[in-house]
């Protein structure tokens, strides 16, 4: 560490600290107009706003258009395999509590091939932020049905229209035990940044579903949630606990049933933080087990601790 600090003094701050200027890396390979650009920009802004040191930013992804993400961020990162980014991030987060890991995945990663991992990362409450860039279609493979494609969606694998019930991200996440669940729209950059920042502040497994339009294979899919396209971007009102009569009607983010009721509204529904509660994270629990075990009359050095274990087996 001392070696590192002595080096730090000689390095210009614009190399050390994350800025919107020094974070972009490879030019994104996304199509023009893709919603994912907006998520990437929000991530740059967020890291700048937080004064993050570049060396401590770690970005993980799965497979798909969205998951090219880490290549476009000039910081540490891993482009992992399809569906398992959350499990990878679990191992990283638990073993490196000093990092706040961000995971960027698509709807295929989150709800199809990696559906099991989303559920279990949520119930474990592993500290990390997961941003799901949901475009309701498989874009990288050129238009197959995704787990969130609406009924009737015509794709190369559903030429007569999708017939399988789409997965509802918010209902799924709240039911699985995620402790922070928010929904936003890539075309609403201010709201997107706000949601990502609140997710980053949350101590636990925080998820932001971002409607991120695929201009190539699902054009106009999210226009109904945009005022400038003739739709409505309705932000849910959170309870302020200000004692006013209108506060009674506002949404209590700790109320699971209320969150599910809001999520059940017909498309395009509303946006904002649906659910946020506090419960012990997996990281805290594991750290506690280690602390208890190490304080429990075991030998001072690690080698002596193992020696004690061998002594019992004589």
């Amino acid at each position: 560490m001392s070696n590192e600090l002595s080096v730090l003094g000689q390095i210009p701050e614009d190399i050390l600290k994350a800025t919107r200027k020094n974070l972009p890396s490879d030019h994104p390979t996304w199509c023009p107009g893709c919603g994912d650009f907006s998520v990437l920009n929000a991530y740059f802004k967020l890291n700048e706003r937080r004064g993050m040191m570049k060396q401590n930013i770690t970005t993980i992804s799965g497979i798909g258009c969205s998951s090219r993400f880490p290549y476009f961020v000039n910081a540490h990162g891993a482009h992992f395999v399809h569906g398992r980014a959350l499990s990878f991030a679990t191992g990283l987060s638990i073993s490196r509590p000093d990092l706040h890991v961000f995971v960027f995945i698509g709807d295929g990663d989150a709800f199809s091939i990696g559906g099991n991992h989303l559920t279990h990362t949520a119930r474990k409450n592993v500290k990390m932020t997961c941003v799901i860039m949901d475009n309701h279609v498989y874009g990288l493979t050129k238009k197959q049905t995704s787990p969130t494609s609406p009924l009737g969606f015509k794709s190369k694998t559903d030429p007569w229209g999708a017939e399988d019930m789409p997965i509802h991200p918010i209902k799924q996440l709240v039911s699985a035990g995620a402790t922070f669940v928010a929904r936003t729209h890539a075309a609403m950059p201010e709201h997107l940044l706000q949601m990502m920042e609140r997710a980053m502040d949350h101590n636990g497994f925080s998820v932001v579903e971002v409607l991120s339009e695929c201009t190539e294979f699902n054009r106009g899919s999210f226009d109904t949630a945009l005022a400038r396209k003739g739709g409505q971007f309705r932000i849910l009102e959170e309870k302020k606990n200000d004692g006013t009569p209108e506060d009674g009607k506002r949404h209590d983010v700790t109320d699971e049933i209320s969150a599910l009721r809001l999520a059940n509204e017909p498309w395009p529904g509303c946006f904002g933080v649906f659910y946020q509660i506090q419960r012990p994270t997996k990281n805290e629990n594991e750290a506690k087990h280690a602390e208890n075990a190490m304080n429990k009359g075991v030998a001072a050095s690690e080698i002596d601790r193992l020696q004690e274990m061998f002594n019992v087996m004589k």
Binding site: N3, K54, I60, S95, D98, N116, A293, I303, L306, F310
Partner: protein, 605 residues
């Protein structure tokens, strides 16, 4: 059972044994395993060698179960073909295991449950009403729980074992459960010890180590050796999913790793568990996952990722019988191909198979050292027989085996290349938190990438990086110790084996040499990359048989035999294979070798 007789103070003849094989047959809930475990431990504490073998039914509760124990004063290599003493708790135990008793051996049966064949004259029969005597001793609880301890008392008397040390073990085991459990346990043991064995007419004494051993002996099974080996190696993160016979490794690590500041997670599935381990490894912690065959199948996509992204990770496979769910509680060496090739694309990796419980410990330490040096996955192929067998072995010197891993977090650069195409193929990986002095940070990737870690799928780059990943393993091959031969360096017959068959193969060599055959053996511990020199050894023998617990396959050769034929294009290589789910017996190898050599009409046999 080589023996010499002398008179004892009891007036009974006391027979001195070099070694003895005892098989206890009953049901899985009889506590046979705990008796076997205590006897093994005692033997270790009294400087004898022990190797055990046990079977469990794969049903949830109940079903026949055995524990076989070979105890002797010299270094033991296998669990022994035939039992000198068979203990039968039930009629089915007698029926199924009497054939395992050698001619002239001693049958001790529970007279309350077993009626032996009255015409059977090949064995000494001793009936002891173990069930009723146990109930009597415990005080009429009308349950025969404790019969195992009665038997242990009986065996302690019969074999003149250190009874005080056995009592100590009973206390260690039952003390925490309170006096209501401990007192009956001791009563049952004492009743067995007090049983009048004059009917047997003999007392036995098993030899202690004639030379004495430098280190104290430790006594454990292969999965314990694996778990504690991983801790010694510096593993501080693991994730797994329960599966027989791997589960006890994760149970031990879940309990013990926190004492070293580490953690072991139970994941939602096999894939998540290897993904978690790769994530932790990326973060700079030595990490592992493990399973048995079905789980290794599932992990293969991420093994391929770890090869591509050059992330070190230990993947354990405690092999059982396959394919599919197969034989969950039997042994087989049929996952070698999977270990060598699991994963799509060209995926060079390290594969190591241990041959004894002691070797499990030392080889895990070595596998972890190698994987971090070469930045690739290391597959560790243990098996069911190693996992469940208890062995006594000299306590390891932890000063040599214990490692604390500290990742290199020093700043890097400028122009640092985490996938630098070096002559050895080995490059230096980067961990999150490391400062890059030029502000340019690497990404780890499953896509083909350039030396900086950014995607580049060009033909030139793919050829260069494929060769780089392969060259690392070729570098390792040069550094591995060359193979060594057990027996003379030149001869007629060479047996080649890998994994847990080393003991019975070497005992077969000993026996066949006594019978006049010119035979040696070679053990392949490093299966990928293969050690150098195997071809030269094979050249010095007329016949080469690869002894494996797997099928001879469509083309007539087992999995290692096929690999060796592919690598060395040597038509001499033939196989001795079996798939009965049990460890090789010495006599099986001996008779297979004889008949195979006969097939080629060899005059000297």
């Amino acid at each position: 059972m080589a023996q010499t007789a002398m008179q004892t103070s009891h007036g009974l003849e006391k027979i001195h044994l070099e070694e003895v094989v005892i098989r206890i047959a009953g049901n899985s809930q009889d506590g046979i395993q705990s008796v076997g475990d205590m006897l093994s431990r005692l033997s270790g504490r009294s400087k004898r060698g022990v190797i055990t073998f046990q079977t469990f039914p794969s049903t949830i509760s109940g079903g026949p179960s055995i524990f076989q124990l070979r105890v002797g004063g010299h270094r033991l290599k296998s669990v022994g073909d035939e039992a000198d003493v068979l203990v039968a708790f039930y009629q089915h135990s007698y029926r199924d295991h009497i054939k395992a008793l050698r001619k002239g051996g001693l049958l001790i049966y529970d007279a309350d449950h077993v009626t032996p064949d009255p015409d059977e004259k090949r064995f000494h029969h001793v009936g002891v009403p173990m069930t009723s005597l146990t109930i009597e001793a415990i005080g009429g609880t009308a349950k025969d729980k404790g019969k195992n301890l009665f038997l242990m008392g009986l065996l302690a008397k019969l074999f003149d074992l250190e009874s005080d040390k056995l009592e100590e073990q009973i206390k260690e085991r039952f003390d925490a459960k309170g006096p209501k459990v401990l007192a009956p346990a001791l009563n049952a043991y004492h009743a067995g010890y007090a049983y009048d064995i004059s009917k047997i007419g003999e007392l036995f004494q098993i030899e202690k180590d004639p030379i004495g051993r430098a280190h104290p002996q430790v006594c454990m099974d292969g999965n314990q050796a694996l778990a504690y080996g991983a801790i010694a190696a510096g593993i501080r993160f693991g994730a797994g999913y329960p599966i027989t016979p791997w589960s006890s490794v994760m149970e031990i690590l879940r309990r013990e790793l926190p004492k070293f500041g580490g953690t072991f997670l139970q994941a939602e599935d096999e894939i998540a568990s290897i993904a978690m381990a790769v994530g932790a490894a990326y973060g700079g912690t030595l990490a592992m996952t493990g399973s048995s065959g079905p789980g290794l199948s599932l992990k293969s996509e991420i093994i391929s990722y770890a090869v591509m992204a050059e992330v070190p990770i230990l993947v354990v496979d405690v092999m059982r019988g396959g394919p599919s769910t197969g034989l969950p509680t039997n042994v087989e060496q049929s996952d070698l191909n999977l270990a060598l090739y699991a994963g799509h694309g060209d995926t060079p990796r390290i594969v190591i198979a241990p041959f004894s419980v002691r070797d499990v410990f030392h080889s895990v330490v070595e596998a972890v050292q190698l994987m971090q040096e070469y930045n690739c996955p290391a597959i560790f192929l243990s098996d069911y027989s190693l996992a469940t067998r208890v062995e006594t072995w000299p306590e390891p010197n932890l000063k040599e085996s214990f490692h604390i891993y500290k990742p290199d977090m020093s700043p890097k650069g400028p122009n640092f290349l985490p996938y630098k195409d070096t002559p050895s193929g080995i490059s230096e990986r980067i961990i999150p938190g490391v400062l890059m002095l030029d502000g340019n940070y690497p990404t780890i990737s499953g896509l083909e990438h350039n030396e900086a870690g950014h995607p580049d799928g060009s033909s030139v780059m793919h050829m260069k990086m494929t060769a780089k990943r392969r060259r690392k393993l070729q570098t390792l091959r040069e550094k591995l110790p060359p193979v060594s031969v057990y027996g003379p360096e030149t001869g007629e017959v060479l047996l080649i084996g890998w994994g847990s068959t080393k003991g019975p193969i070497e005992e077969s060599v000993d026996q066949l040499r006594k019978e006049g055959m010119d035979i040696s053996s070679l053990h392949v511990k490093y299966l990928s990359p293969l050690q150098r020199g195997i071809d030269k050894v094979m050249d010095r023998f007329k016949h080469v048989f690869v002894v494996e617990m797997n099928d001879s396959g469509i083309y007539g050769y087992g999995q290692l035999a096929s690999l060796l034929r592919a690598v060395y294009a040597n038509a001499k290589i033939k196989g001795i294979n079996k798939t009965d789910g049990l460890p090789f017996k010495v006599r099986e190898i001996v008779s297979a070798v004889k008949s195979k050599v006969m097939q080629t009409v060899h005059p000297s046999v």
